[in-house]
Symmetry: C2
Subunit: 115 residues, 2 copies
């Protein structure tokens, strides 16, 4: 893929990842490694662990997520992430902005002088 386009897609992902992480956590609590797999099912959001752990830490620091540990039958303990009330509220606000943004972009074109 073209360099410019690759880079653009990276930029476009900014903010969107946070949004998607909160969205997948809306229905169920998940652990980091699993979130990566979830998002990987969306072609345009192929990410690695190095990308989402910093995001998860930040979201926890901001009070949008809380965590608890649980032992795993295969590998080290899993850290589950769960939406807080503040997280749920924020997700609602973000959804509004997202809707406005996508609709706005889709309608973006030169406003004609007179019809």
């Amino acid at each position: 893929m073209d360099d410019f386009l690759t880079n653009w897609v990276t930029q476009l992902r900014k903010g969107i990842l946070e949004f998607c992480i909160l969205k997948v956590l809306e229905d169920a609590s998940l652990y980091g490694y699993d979130i990566v797999r979830q998002l990987r099912t969306l072609e345009v959001l192929v990410i690695s662990e190095g990308t989402i752990y910093p995001i998860l830490s930040r979201l926890r620091r901001e009070g949008l997520l809380k965590t608890y540990l649980e032992e795993s039958p295969e590998g080290p303990a899993r850290k589950y992430y769960q939406l807080t009330n503040r997280g749920k509220d924020m997700l609602g606000e973000m959804r509004k902005v997202w809707t406005a943004m996508t609709q706005g972009v889709d309608n973006a074109r030169r406003t004609k002088g007179k019809p």
Copy 2:
């Protein structure tokens, strides 16, 4: 508005601005100051000149836009920006990614194990 949300919206804009600029230039050549006014009509994309000129320079450097000067009846000469062929092609690619991305995000949720 909440600090976190404000910042998130800023991040979300990344990449989207470039896309919108190319989009508004698809129908007609415009000069920088006018592009700002065009995009300001979209509530979520309120930007200032300081934001758009670096983007325009970059897009021109990348060969997606070309420019020509034209005198103005009110103020200094205007620099009009126009899509190149490469710009048109790129816009097409970006549109595909944008569509895939927005649809992907809207479908983002926990994939159920078994129904």
